[in-house]
């Protein structure tokens, strides 16, 4: 089940423009009070993150003294260097990246091929096949995880990165989403190309794929985010630290063998959150647009 929201999603984060004539007029005190209320909501939402960065950049002994720190004082990077001593952070970040890139790249390739078949080629059983695949969207991951675990165990793939990206290659939602997108591209275009002697692969990769930029980038952003943040999969499949991805590594740092001090865990969380924050600030519109247009996640 999906919902396409046909609005200019790029505008969702942009403050609404005030009508010209009104801008000159004084705003009512009520409206200003309301703005303050909205600001308070924003501050409350941001507070845990501000505290996270402030406390993690404070000297270990001072990080959690009361009142809570809103700025690092005294400033220190010691918690951060302790993270690097206590967990293979770089290795785990690389693992997360490898899994996410292969999952996203692979699943989009598989989806683009399948969407082409569903949108442009006719053969018996095609539409029934699509309905069967779509009904899989209703199946929760917990139902398939046990058999998939048994399968990985039999293939000797438990505790490998392969066990994380291989099941992610099939993305039924992406297939459906791309098929809808391809259907909206006029067929006259491929017929013209066909007359010029183009084959299916040329039509797909030289014409349809370049024309599907917005759909592909929305799916890529959502897919990358889902993979990067996945905790359930690694928890089931991975046991050795050098194979872990960041989410599992974080939790293991906190709970494994005695557990690291709170300030160090805080620094590790900050190291995971910071790149996401930077990416968000840089590509805010793309993030919001992806969520609004393809807004569906397991």
């Amino acid at each position: 089940m999906s919902l396409r929201v046909d609005v200019d999603a790029n505008d969702l984060l942009r403050p609404r423009e005030r009508p010209r004539e009104r801008r000159r007029r004084r705003r009512r005190p009520g409206a200003i009070a309301f703005d303050v209320l909205v600001l308070v909501v924003g501050l409350l939402m941001a507070a845990p993150l501000v505290w996270l960065f402030a406390a993690s950049a404070t000297e270990p002994g001072e990080a959690f003294t009361l009142p809570p720190k809103w700025l690092p004082s005294p400033f220190s990077t010691e918690n951060y260097s302790r993270v690097l001593e206590l967990m293979p952070f770089g290795r785990m970040a690389l693992n997360s990246l490898i899994v996410a890139v292969i999952s996203v790249g692979g699943s989009l390739l598989v989806a683009v091929l399948a969407a082409y078949a569903f949108s442009r080629l006719s053969f018996t059983g095609r539409d029934k096949m699509l309905v069967v695949m779509l009904s899989a969207l209703m199946v929760p991951a917990q139902l398939t995880i046990i058999p998939v675990f048994v399968l990985m165990r039999n293939l000797n793939l438990v505790d490998t990165l392969t066990s994380l990206w291989l099941p992610a290659l099939i993305n039924v939602f992406a297939i459906f989403f791309l098929r809808q997108y391809f259907n909206s591209i006029p067929r006259e275009l491929d017929e013209a190309a066909r007359i010029d002697g183009a084959g299916h692969l040329w039509i797909l990769f030289r014409m349809l794929v370049p024309l599907s930029g917005p759909a592909l980038s929305a799916l890529a952003i959502l897919g990358f985010q889902a993979s990067w943040n996945n905790y359930f999969g690694p928890l089931i499949f991975i046991s050795s630290p050098e194979k872990m991805t960041l989410p599992l590594g974080l939790v293991t740092l906190q709970s494994g063998q005695g557990g690291a001090p709170a300030a160090v865990v805080f620094a590790a969380i900050a190291m995971v959150v910071a790149p996401v924050l930077v990416l968000f600030l840089a590509f805010q519109r793309n993030f919001v647009a992806s969520v609004a247009t393809a807004g569906l996640r397991g």
Binding site: V5, R16, L39, R126, T144
Partner: protein, 311 residues
Amino acid sequence: MTAGVATPVALGTDSPPRRRARRREALAGWAFLSPALVLFLVFIAGPLAFAIFLSVHSWDLLTPREYVGLENFRRLFSDPLLPKALLNTFLFSLASVVTHVFGGLLLALAVNRPMNRFVSYFTRSAVFFPYLLSWAAVALLWKYVLDPTFGLVAYYLDKIGIDAPNWFVDPAWSLPAIIGIDFWYTIGFTFVIMLAGLQTVPSELVEAARTDGANRWQVFWHVTVPMMSPVLFFAVIITFIGAFQIFDPIQIITGGGPDDATMTIVMFLYQTGFQAFQIGYASAIAILVFVVIMAVTGLQFLVARKWVYER
């Protein structure tokens, strides 16, 4: 979910070259579909069938499987943990749906009007951003935010004269704490969906209602809400399906405790399958999860027929 229309076959023109062309196209179709089809069979359809097969067996992954018929289901329905887990899961889902839909709509309405540009931008970003993080980071962060000795919440509640509970030790407060954390984490999604929904409400309709003398409240109830009902319905369904499978923060923060106060159905499944390795029994739980989600979603669709406005 509309299936495409099959190409009509022209009668009488089924000459051999044409038939050959059609066979070539069918072959290409299956070839393009094959990677997806193989993966679908191996990682979705096969496992689904295998899960049903496992649910009527007793198996610990080591000793041979043993057929036990419906014994796993019989045991499940007399397991004292099941009603507890189901109740917690339903409570969580209900609270999640209500807080997300109302909160998301309220937040979207609050920023979807002429206002200070900085405030608007800052609040929109602050509400949306947590949704991009992982449960691992969010759950660990909030474990400290809610810490009774050095956490933010305890400190500021104390300042205004409220004695903060010891969230994850007190069974009465553990589930509400998880509900609150989940709200902070995922409200950004509902918020964006609602904001998008608000933009689909035609402004001519709002203006027409205003000229006819409707006040803001009447416009909201009689124009905005009906026009947005498909979006509201979508938010309810998506939030429910997600909430019913809540697992990560439970596993990370409470492990289902204290005193099973945060034991949810998927946590129950995880402990049975991946800690006790009762594979057959866990598969029976998984099938129950599937059936409940299907049933509740179906029910929501039935209810929705009455009040969702279709354009």
